[in-house]
Subunit: 354 residues, 2 copies
């Protein structure tokens, strides 16, 4: 079968021929429909995420997938059922307390692998196998966009964790800001715009730009951070009740404290490299305390977040899905999915259709 | 009546003679038993907390009080009942949404005054008045230590807010660390030691020292931050599930991120001045995200936290109360309560007894 992988000799995605996998007991065989590409895939290619599967000379890419159950293999799934796979897996199949509790997203380093990211093959292949417990049903009506369930699940978890921090009091937020206008930022912006009176999205692009067009269409305010740095949001617009950081630009974590309104929460999702810089640590500390602020980080997601994401996917408007997915390519032309120009928002590799 | 106040001409506490206040409708008159002194009182004397009451040439000090209802004044309280007053009050008596919800601790600047701290007289007086809604009943059996209800309530709120951040998953913490060995740190250390398998307290004192003796007696591990900086706790001892910062030393906020175990939470309570310094912001941001960490600030507390604190006060062992309260002085010798030597842990001004 055809797979898209990365080898030790190349830093671009390679079309390879590999044997179709056979499901072990408890696993189903899935025929892949589509696999999305995101920043993490680029990082895997650049080698900043580590670890091929043990003994392998390549790693199959891709962690945002949707497929159809080809062989249920006695797992209780049905042949023809559309599913989205979660990402974290037991290392060497050995379970631990985090997998037992259904919370692999909270597992520490070494107690998980991530398919297509670290230590385990991904889903960019005509077929993949997965334990049935990690295959989340997706309605056929949204199968075409089922590869968005994984990124949406990241935001479902981030929102759940961020909002929990505000549970002890009667929080009444009305403004939210997304830092970053990539595909995850735009999906999140639409989600937040359903809840908040006023939403903002921070990017660094000149108009006309397809992401800014989406921000406009959502009805949010586009903020160019070259003109208005994040910590100047309160003066230029308003202090934010909720900030969702999806840039990986380290100063944003600190600027978020100043951009938040009293009693606000900032959730961090970016994964920057080490970078030393000066901050007014005294004022940041003081500000977090005197105004009951919170900074929380979240990574990955688990099955219930995938289930919530399936609900959200069914609510996304058709125009947003159309505008968001800028490239659909077959495996033979996979390079098109890894191009990174300003007109690329979300690229997808299509292996098959329903 | 005798009051201890600060005037515009002095930066030490002054024994003054003022008229006994009369309760307005909805208020009770309270005969003061004891009032504790803490770091905030020293800051008020140093002028770093602002604002005397409107038009006043002095401000009565003190925000950690216990007293006896002298005149219920039709409020539903009973004469002779022991009470601890909360700290925040409506500015000019004008209510707002935060007071309506019973959450004045979440009110923004300008929507509250604080008795003895900013804009309102404190409780260091033979008598004070207070709206009955802000007087929390204290059992007579612990009246002598009722001035600890206010500081304990700060930790009740901090713990409530910090633990809420870990609600979305099955958090199983077993190590906690208090940064700071002042009276609030030590009370909190005892509280945490009831819940956690292993507790640590960070200070900068040589043995023998009365606070280190208390840390030993609690059964916690004393960490001298001159030998082991906070960010080196994981290597020297272990990564912490919970960190409670009560030093106001700004680098601690940042070191806390590194000292936390995966999925850990750090609660910040200190109020440092502005201070610029260099941090590895990239690694901090990265660490918060990849290990699901959280930093949360809290300030002040409200009635339910006082009620929880009353419960906690009744559980505190006699030896801890004895060792903690190092000075009990009458108003005529109030200077003794503001001395700041290494043998001073908690000082109290006693106006009367039951």
């Amino acid at each position: 079968m055809k797979v898209i992988g990365v080898t030790r000799d190349d830093d671009g995605p390679q079309l390879l021929e590999r044997e179709r996998p056979s499901p072990d007991p408890g696993e189903a065989l899935v025929r892949t429909l589509r696999v999305g590409v995101d920043g993490t895939d680029h990082e895997v290619l650049n080698g900043s995420h580590g670890g091929f599967p043990d003994g392998a000379d390549h790693m199959i890419l891709g962690h945002e997938a949707v497929g159809v159950v080809e062989e249920p293999n006695g797992t209780g799934l049905e042949a023809g059922q559309v599913v989205a796979p979660t990402v974290r897996r037991k290392p060497n199949g050995e379970t631990n307390e985090y997998f037992r509790r259904g919370e692999p997203d909270m597992a520490p380093d070494g107690e998980y692998t991530e398919r297509g990211i670290v230590g385990d093959h991904g889903f960019m292949a005509e077929y993949f196998t997965s334990p049935a417990d990690f295959l989340v049903p997706v309605p056929k009506s949204v199968a075409e966009y089922g590869f968005l369930v994984e990124p949406l699940s990241i935001t479902e978890k981030a929102n759940e964790h961020a909002y929990a921090t505000r549970e002890p009091f009667d929080w009444r937020p009305d403004s939210a800001c997304v830092l970053g206008n990539g595909s995850l930022g735009l999906l999140t912006l639409w989600m937040l715009d359903q809840e908040y009176d006023r939403t903002y999205c921070v990017g660094r692009r000149d108009r006309p730009d397809p992401t800014v067009d989406i921000i406009d269409e959502i009805g949010s305010t586009y903020v160019d951070s070259r003109e208005t740095p994040v910590d100047e949001l309160p003066g230029a617009y308003e202090a934010m009740d909720y900030i969702y950081e999806a840039t990986g630009f380290a100063p944003h974590a600190f600027q978020t404290v100043k951009a938040l309104d009293q009693n606000g929460v900032g959730v961090l999702l970016g994964i920057p490299e080490p970078w030393e810089f000066e901050v007014d640590g005294g004022s940041l500390h003081n500000e977090i305390v005197l105004h009951n602020k919170c900074l929380i980080g979240t990574v990955n997601s688990h099955v219930s977040h995938f289930e919530d994401a399936v609900e959200t996917l069914q609510e996304l408007p058709a125009w947003l899905l159309d505008d968001l997915v800028t490239t659909v390519t077959d495996p033979e032309h996979v390079e098109a999915a890894f191009e990174d120009g300003d007109d690329q928002i979300k690229a997808v590799v299509e292996f098959d259709s329903l």
